[in-house]
């Protein structure tokens, strides 16, 4: 091929594909050992020396700073799964890499990539249909224990797996606590309303779910009461410090007495604001900005709690839950300053409580919406961070199960069943896609295989057994109950995972198959890679 002069490097054809695929497999290999309930953790140390210990796929990949453009696609894939589903980030990457590896083999055997792509796409569509129509079990049919089980399954692979029942309960309760009805009459479970506070000290078991909103802040002054009830809450987004003049306004005085007056005036402005707020009936004042120490006495006198430096997000949540409206300024339509009682929100109580050595402010019995706070305890910071990530995955899983209403048995059961289904489906086709679909069906088995291998079981043996069982279930309608058989990783044999309570939200599985296939196709379609070099500064005028 004649050389094409471009400012950079160019690779094309088979080389690029193989190289891209190798990069993707390398990414997947990093994650491989952390899949499943007996998967292990990674310790990541960044250039600042900060340490993260995790086995969450998305978190690991985010920290890796991958450079290869194709590998980046996989990193994005994990991120996407994290955003859309929240769980299953490791398995989606493994699946995508396996699909790519098998596609590479097919290309070497002389099948055109476009045929493989068509086959993969067809297989993806068929598997999603199969999952949705015949395999998923509705939540109602299984009852409430199913939620608990979904939470358990999500947790089992995480660091808090040792306290599985405890955290599963915690998660389910927390999600159910924030249930709310939308305008169209559907129920929503906004997990954003669940606040997670981390505090090292004590064991994981001492974590607790608390009603109300917990804020990681304290009263501004010791003289304030520890508890006000019922609370009238004012949410402010402005400073209650000595009011300074704006930029461009200069204070010039010639007489020292004048100076004093000006200082006094500055206090005066703040004082009148505080008085207006208190007069409106507020006894719990939250601001995102600061409060002058000198101004605190006004609150103390009135027995009100004032809290400064509340995080903006917390403030929004607080305002939403208590019905307060966040005020940016106190100006009114007359051009003066005042504070209307209608801006206040209400709650049963605002209280400062001590958890371990630290103090937190809790707002309980909010007027408008229910919300929950989970306080996580752990031996050290890394543990707490990982616990909060794990719990987030778990909350997502419960939420998905509730909102999508369908679950599937886990432990490699879905993949094995799909694999058999696709294999049978492939043989009904005459085209070249047949081979691709057969490979897709094999690729799915990477999940049970890795699960078994991570649990130090004989993967080949287990997979053979698993496939035999599922084949029987699909061929013989009398043996339909066998279709829920999956791996029991602790004891090393097969069991009915639906009964054993290993459940995953159906939507999570469907999404991960869709996303993994899409990502694999994106990479397969590439047959040319052009890397542009950085332009030199001094050359920039010439081009």
């Amino acid at each position: 091929m004649s050389s094409l002069a471009i400012y950079g490097e160019r690779q094309s054809g088979e080389d690029v594909r193989t190289q891209n695929i190798t990069a993707c497999i390398a990414i997947a290999n990093i994650l491989r050992s952390s899949l499943g309930p007996v998967g292990l953790d990674k310790m990541l140390v960044d250039d600042m020396g900060d340490v993260i210990v995790t086995n969450d796929g998305a978190t690991i990949l985010k920290q890796l700073e991958v450079e290869h453009p194709a590998a980046k696609v996989l990193v994005e894939l994990a991120q996407q799964q994290d955003e859309e589903v929240g769980d299953g980030t490791t398995s989606v990457v493994l699946l995508a890499a396996e699909l790519l590896k098998r596609a590479d083999d097919l290309v070497r055997r002389g099948i055109h990539p476009t045929n493989i792509i068509a086959g993969y796409r067809l297989a993806m569509r068929e598997s999603c249909r199969f999952l949705r129509d015949t395999f998923a079990v509705s939540v109602e049919k299984l009852g409430k224990s199913c939620l608990l089980n979904t939470a358990r399954t999500a947790i089992s692979s995480k660091i808090i797996g040792s306290e599985i029942d405890f955290f599963a309960n915690l998660a389910v309760e927390a999600v159910l606590a924030v249930k709310r009805k939308t305008e169209v009459g559907k129920y929503k479970y906004p997990i954003k309303a669940i606040n997670i506070l981390k505090k090292s000290g004590k064991g994981a078991r001492d974590s607790q779910l608390l009603k109300g909103i917990g804020l990681n802040v304290t009263r501004a002054s010791q003289g304030m009461p520890l508890r006000v009830s019922p609370a009238k809450i004012a949410c402010l987004d402005f400073d209650l410090r000595r009011s300074k003049m704006k930029m461009g306004v200069q204070v010039l005085v010639e007489d020292p007495k004048e100076l004093e007056r000006i200082q006094e005036k500055e206090y005066e402005v703040t004082k009148s604001r505080i008085e207006a707020i208190l007069k409106a009936g507020a006894n719990a004042i939250f601001t995102t900005k600061g409060i002058d120490d000198a101004a605190l006495k006004y609150f103390v006198e009135k027995n009100a709690i004032a809290v400064r430096r509340v995080a903006k997000d917390d403030m929004k949540r607080l305002a939403k839950a208590t019905g307060a409206s966040v005020q940016l300024t106190m100006a009114d339509l007359g051009g003066e300053e005042s504070f209307d009682p209608s801006f206040l929100g209400s709650a049963e109580e605002v209280v400062e409580e001590t958890i371990s050595d630290d103090k937190f402010i809790f707002v309980r019995g909010c007027k408008n919406l229910a919300s929950g706070t989970i306080v996580l305890r752990g031996p050290n910071e890394y543990m707490c961070d990982e616990m909060s990530r794990s719990l987030h995955d778990c909350l997502c899983a419960v939420q998905r199960a509730l909102e999508s209403n369908y679950v599937v048995p886990g432990g490699g059961c879905v993949e094995a069943s799909l694999s058999i289904f696709l294999e049978n489906f492939a043989t009904t086709l005459g085209g070249r896609e047949q081979l691709a679909i057969a490979e897709f069906s094999d690729a799915l088995l990477v999940i049970p295989k890795t699960l078994a291998a991570n649990a130090a079981l004989d993967a080949t043996d287990m997979i053979a057994k698993l496939r035999a069982v599922h084949n029987a279930a699909q061929l013989d309608s009398n043996k339909g109950n066998l279709s829920h058989m999956g791996l029991d990783l602790e004891n090393g044999h097969l069991r009915d995972n639906l009964e054993a309570g290993i459940l995953e939200p159906a939507m999570s599985k469907i999404k991960s198959i869709q996303l993994a296939t899409e990502a694999a196709i994106t990479i397969l379609r590439i047959d040319d890679l052009i890397k542009l070099k950085k332009k030199q500064e001094d050359e920039s005028g010439e081009y």
């Binding site: 891209n20 003049m245 007056r261 005036k265 966040v326 994106t522 379609r525 542009l532």
Partner: protein
């Protein structure tokens, strides 16, 4: 003695020049061919993609010829002409940007052979011009007229354009969207005046391409400013588009306000409140309840104070409207941008039935529906699972718009799948037989060069290209004008029945532009580097 030397030198340099002219031409041709080879594999519905990593590390995946070439930073001057060629096709027809480069590359290799036979470049150039004129006649005959009001026919053409893209599986969804969008902004009386800038594609990450929709009205990428707890939904809205700021006026940097008295401090604060309040009241008095504010770099577009007042007056505030957007918004809403508070009069407001903020994925946007008056613009909300996909969807939609526009301009459809090119090749071959001299040779070479399109289509689809192309040629000789390659089934079939059709304008423009470019490259016989 000197004179003798001079003569000798002259003779030497003359022969060198001849040598040089040949070299330059060869090097130009081979550089241009390399460009064509680079994009060849992305032609057709089964074409593959290119990944381009830009210097900053951003990655782009596309199979749109013009996009790839413009990113590739080709260095050779002649090769650059091919890059410009695909850009020209993009502007003229919008689609077929890969096709045009592939044809040009194939024509250039035909030139190489012809030059090797000792035919003068000017002769080749003239013969090619003759051939392309004849080709247009043949295409005109093969094309079938289409009624642009027949929605299904237009959709088919758009779907063909989309079939080669990454988003091909969503062609059934995107094609009708593209057709409806263009139909809405088109004025059938003046098809040349269709301005695609009146279609705005808003990209929002999240969801899948299936969620892409055409929105009747205006969609703004910005979100409503709620920091003062403002409203997010206004029915029966009166919208004002303002280009001034609602914040305290600033003095020049050199000037300062000097406060010498404590009572003056009060006045400074009060005056500011009063000033902003007056602004807000004036706005309220005109009946306006939705305010779109242009971004400002000199001053804050809004201040806490003004947001607070506006929220109290139940006026919705959308900030950070870009300067470039102003024209589009004004056109869509039938309103006049307001430059100062003194010119804020009710006549300049737009009436809209409903303005509301909606959240898509993790982002927010503002939708305005029920705009009074005729729709002059449309908005399309594109969704996609990742940024690469979304960007490619936008490019593909643009191609589809262009295809529809080409159809409005010239209301003829022609069969795709290599049928048009084969038909021209067969027709030109017949004509070549009636010609004499070198021209006959050149026209035949031109005809054969066009077969690169069906050949590449078949090759990219993993089909046996030689069998397919020879069978295709055979069918066309027998008079089956619409026979083309059915990439999905891997055989030859009637393209019109398979609904693989494209606008005549795209094919004609590709042929014409490619020929012009080749003629130009042929005529170059020297490169002079200047500083």
């Amino acid at each position: 003695m000197d004179a003798k030397n001079n003569i000798k030198n002259n003779r030497e340099s003359a022969s060198k020049d001849r040598q040089k002219a040949k070299d330059v031409r060869l090097s130009n041709i081979s550089a241009s061919k390399a460009v064509a080879d680079a994009v060849r594999t992305s032609l057709g519905p089964r074409g593959l993609d290119k990944m381009v990593q830009e210097e900053a590390g951003d990655v782009l995946i596309s199979n749109d010829g013009a996009t790839i070439l413009s990113k590739m930073r080709v260095e050779h001057p002649a090769a650059k002409m091919l890059v410009d060629l695909s850009k020209a096709q993009d502007i003229e027809a919008g689609d077929g940007t890969t096709t045009v480069v592939v044809i040009a590359g194939s024509l250039l290799s035909a030139c190489l052979t012809l030059l090797g036979k000792g035919i003068h470049p000017s002769l080749i150039s003239d013969a090619f011009q003759y051939a392309v004129e004849k080709a247009e006649e043949i295409l005109d005959k093969a094309a079938q007229p289409v009624d642009v009001n027949d929605r299904t026919a237009v959709i088919q053409a758009a779907a063909t354009a989309l079939s080669s893209k990454v988003v091909s599986q969503h062609a059934t969804l995107l094609a009708p969207i593209a057709v409806d969008a263009v139909t809405r902004i088109a004025n059938l009386e003046e098809p040349d005046a269709i301005d695609l800038r009146n279609i705005r594609v808003i990209k929002k990450l999240g969801g899948t391409l299936d969620d892409t929709e055409l929105f009747e009205g205006l969609v703004l990428n910005q979100h409503v400013n709620k920091s003062a707890g403002g409203v997010t939904k206004v029915a029966g809205a009166k919208v004002a588009l303002i280009q001034f700021c609602l914040s305290a006026p600033k003095t020049d940097i050199e000037n300062n306000i000097i406060v010498q008295d404590y009572s003056a401090m009060d006045r400074v604060l009060r005056e500011e409140r009063q000033y902003i309040l007056n602004l807000c009241k004036k706005i309220k008095n005109t009946g306006c309840n939705v305010l779109l504010i242009q971004k400002s770099i000199l001053r804050d577009a809004t201040s806490d104070l003004s947001l607070h007042y506006l929220a109290k007056m139940k006026i919705m505030v959308v900030q950070d409207v870009e300067r470039e957007e102003i024209e589009f918004i004004a056109k869509s809403l039938h309103c006049v941008p307001i430059a100062g508070i003194d010119s804020f009069v009710p006549e300049k407001l737009a009436k809209v039935d409903l303005v509301e903020e909606v959240s898509v994925g993790s982002e927010k946007m503002v939708k305005m529906s029920g705009i009074q008056g005729k729709h002059k613009t449309v908005s399309i909300i594109a969704r996609g699972s990742n940024k690469l996909m979304l960007d490619e969807a936008e490019r593909s939609l643009h191609d589809a718009f262009c295809v529809v526009r080409s159809l409005f301009r010239r209301r003829f459809l022609i069969a795709g799948g290599g049928a048009a090119e084969t038909e021209v090749a067969v027709g030109l071959n017949k004509i070549a037989k009636t010609l004499e001299g070198a021209a006959a040779f050149c026209v035949r070479a031109f005809a054969d060069a066009l077969e690169v399109i069906p050949y590449t289509l078949a090759e990219n689809a993993g089909l046996p290209s030689i069998e397919i192309v020879t069978e295709l040629r055979n069918r066309h000789v027998q008079g089956d004008k619409n026979a083309g390659i059915n990439v999905k089934k891997g055989n030859i079939s009637n393209m019109v029945e398979e609904n693989v059709v494209m606008p005549l304008l795209v094919t004609v423009s590709a042929l014409r532009l490619a020929t012009e470019c080749v003629r130009m490259i042929l005529k170059i016989d020297d490169i002079v580097m200047t500083r």
